[in-house]
């Protein structure tokens, strides 16, 4: 089940890294501006779907390295892990917690449980869609 189109393969190799970079950009920007884990995961999944269309399912599995179901499970674990800091601090579950790490030079790196939750959503969406698509293409 793989197509032998040279154009599609060459285009896929050029477009896929762009899509993956853009998905990470959307994920990291998501809290204050449009973006976030869900749309980032969708864009990343579409990159892998494009790869699956042009190179077949087997090589997509090799590229992902882990089973898409494991990605889904790890995403849910990330979502669960984002609730723990607020529980430890005695707040209500899923309260957003922020840390500011000083960077060398000026500026701070803002870390938050929101970001952890967003990464969880990203992995869960990616895992779900890849499970669907790989299952459909193998059937």
């Amino acid at each position: 089940m793989k197509s032998n189109t040279l154009i599609l393969r060459t285009a896929a190799l050029a477009i896929m890294p762009l899509q993956l970079m853009f998905s990470v950009f959307l994920l990291l920007r998501g809290h204050d501006e449009p973006g976030g884990g869900f749309i980032g995961g969708l864009v990343a999944a579409s990159a892998f779907v494009l790869y699956a269309f042009s190179f077949g399912v087997g090589s997509t599995r090799k590229l992902l390295r882990v089973s898409p179901k494991d990605l889904l499970a790890v995403g849910l674990l990330f979502g669960l892990a984002s609730t723990i800091p607020s529980l430890l601090a005695g707040e209500a579950m899923l309260t957003a917690m922020w840390w500011q790490l000083p960077l060398p030079g000026e500026g701070y790196l803002k870390l938050s449980t929101v970001l952890v939750f967003d990464i969880g959503v990203y992995l869960a969406v990616l895992g779900t869609l890849m499970t669907f698509v790989i299952g459909l293409m193998e059937s």
């Binding site: 197509s3 599609l8 477009i15 762009l18 853009f22 449009p34 749309i39 494009l50 269309f53």
Partner: protein, 88 residues
């Protein structure tokens, strides 16, 4: 001047959308419909780009990028479907 140009472009894009929709509904063969769908996707991200200029919100350009990066997946999917349908 720019606002007139934006209105004209909106009107022309709507016209293009209408014609593409007519081709989508009446298209005699499946490839015609696939090409019409692809044209509709192109017109939609044209809309989003013009809307970004209209409102000055640059985040809409990211929407246009996402649509442009993903819209052709539908065309590839249809192409595979047509290819396989011809074999079986």
């Amino acid at each position: 001047m720019l606002s007139i140009a934006i209105d004209v472009v909106y009107f022309m894009l709507s016209l293009a959308l209408l014609f593409a929709f007519i081709r989508l509904t009446r298209g005699p063969s499946l490839p015609d419909r696939v090409v019409a769908l692809e044209l509709i996707a192109s017109v939609v991200f044209g809309y989003v780009g013009v809307h970004a200029i209209d409102t000055g919100v640059s985040s809409f350009l990211d929407v246009a990028i996402v649509i442009a990066l993903t819209a052709f997946l539908a065309a590839i999917g249809f192409a595979r479907f047509v290819e396989r349908g011809a074999k079986e």
